[in-house]
Amino acid sequence: MFNRFLRWLFFGLIVRPFTLIIIGLNIRHTERLPQKGPAILVANHNSHLDTLVLMSLFSLKQLPQIHPVAAADYFLRNRLFAWFALNIIGIIPLARKVQARTDPFVAAYTALSQGQILILFPEGTRGQPEFMNHFKNGIARLAKNCADVPIIPIFLHGLGKSLPKGETVLVPFFCDVFVGEALQWEGDKKHYMQKLDAAMHELASEGNFAPWE
């Protein structure tokens, strides 16, 4: 209960003013965001800020339902960090290296069955700033096992400039958030990945971004 209150304070007093004022969001197609769970948001990953920005797309009232799925090896590396990641950010930890024949998404299925909204970065890592890597196949497995949960692709641009991997100084840039149409599972993994890939590239092409070399 106390942690829930802290989480609410952290997002209300720090995260939202920060993402909305210091960063500033240009959101397109807000109407495509899910009103309630279960739903999965998938986005390209450039910066630690990605998660905070995606969580700011929802009202504080919806906050208890929103959970990023994040790498257990990174976010649970020590006790303090783990407490913060689990209770304040509210992550669902995911094992990046999986043993054979275990499903890494078990915790995610439970959360979805409780009507939660999950945030996932299928690139698996932040990688090079402002460069989109191929999505990993795990997302197709999740789509297959939760066939009736809408999966919404979101393209993010700008946060890799503001706070790329390995940097500590934050430089404000406006962040573009382009929300795509929900994707449906149609029975084939490869086809699904192609569809998701195409949707992300189509969203990316909506922006006319200046080069950043």
Partner: protein
């Protein structure tokens, strides 16, 4: 005790702005009712944004100088951020841009302590020399001139030029009965009034394009119509809000109308160069913050130096 002292003239002037907004709201409501098939949603969004902008600006001005200062500093921050997000920047210059943002704080601090000598050279001299030093220390030479040039243009436009509007508040009160706030209201109101009037005259009579390659919607009729109306308004308002005499206020009106026009099209030229339509979507119906403060980046320094030369 809390001391709140507002000159009655400023209250009347603010009431005038609110009255104009009410009239516009009524006209648009009437048009929506009269022509139900036409779509006025863009116009309505624009007016709603006007209400917010005018409301925040007037409240800040009436409550406290320091709040207005923070408001203009924040405006510079938003405009610089929008500019830097639109233009191509170099990966190597991330930390250089960080210093450019810090310059906003210092520039408005000089305004706050009314240190004119530093206010007027800090960005054109010190930042102009310092930012390239920071770039050289990073050592990336490819695209150096373009990066240094575009960054300085942005800093001059969004911070140096806009901060002139704020410096009106730092001018001594004795010369002008309504103080710096009166001058600021005069400048900002006429700049925005001119924007709207050039648009309306252009819509009503526009035939002959001025600079079709930069901005196809700008016409001679719009420009001249705005110029005449704005000059008339300047002559009407100047005795209440400024120390300007009749001829001076007429010239101020012409200056604001002409400078406002060029400020507007200079941002249009940048957008055309970059291949975008709006600089952002922060202000529904208007576009981004740069789309709104574009005229002010030209009118603020020119009006400031005009009045500074004549009366301070």
């Amino acid at each position: 005790m809390f001391e709140w002292e507002v000159k009655p003239t400023l209250l009347w002037a603010s009431a005038g702005v609110v009255l104009l907004l009410i009239i516009s709201t009524v006209i648009i409501a009437f048009l929506t009712h009269r022509y139900p098939k036409k779509n006025f949603s863009e116009l309505r969004a624009r007016l709603r944004s006007w209400w917010w902008m005018a409301g925040i600006f007037i409240l800040a001005m009436l409550i406290d100088k320091v709040i207005s200062l923070f408001l203009f500093g924040f405006l510079s921050f938003l405009a610089l951020k929008e500019y830097l997000s639109l233009i191509p920047t170099r990966r190597a210059d991330r930390r250089v841009l960080f210093w450019a943002y810090l310059a906003i704080l210092l520039q408005y601090y000089w305004v706050g302590i009314a240190w004119y000598g530093v206010f007027i050279i800090f960005i054109p001299v010190y930042m102009f020399l310092f930012l390239p030093i920071r770039m050289i220390l990073i050592g990336e030479t490819e695209g150096f001139l373009k990066a240094a040039g575009t960054l300085h243009w942005g800093l001059m436009t969004t911070v140096f030029c806009l901060s002139h509007a704020a410096y009106l508040l730092a001018l001594p009160d004795e010369v002008n009965p309504t103080g710096g706030a009166g001058l600021l209201l005069f400048l900002v109101f006429l700049t925005e009034f001119n924007d709207v009037l050039q648009y309306i005259w252009g819509k009503l009579l526009g035939q002959h394009k001025i600079i079709p390659k930069v901005s196809p919607n700008k016409t001679w009729e719009g420009f001249l119509g705005g110029l005449v109306t704005t000059t008339f308004m300047a002559v009407l308002l100047a005795p209440w809000l400024t120390p300007l005499n009749l001829w001076q206020s007429g010239f101020a009106g012409i200056l604001i109308a002409t400078a406002g026009f060029f400020g507007d099209v200079s941002i249009s030229a940048i957008k055309r160069d970059l291949g975008i339509k709006d600089s952002g979507n922060l202000l529904p119906g208007h576009g981004g913050i740069l789309d709104r403060v574009d005229s002010l980046t030209y009118t603020a320094p020119l009006f400031f130096h005009f009045i500074y030369y004549l009366h301070y």
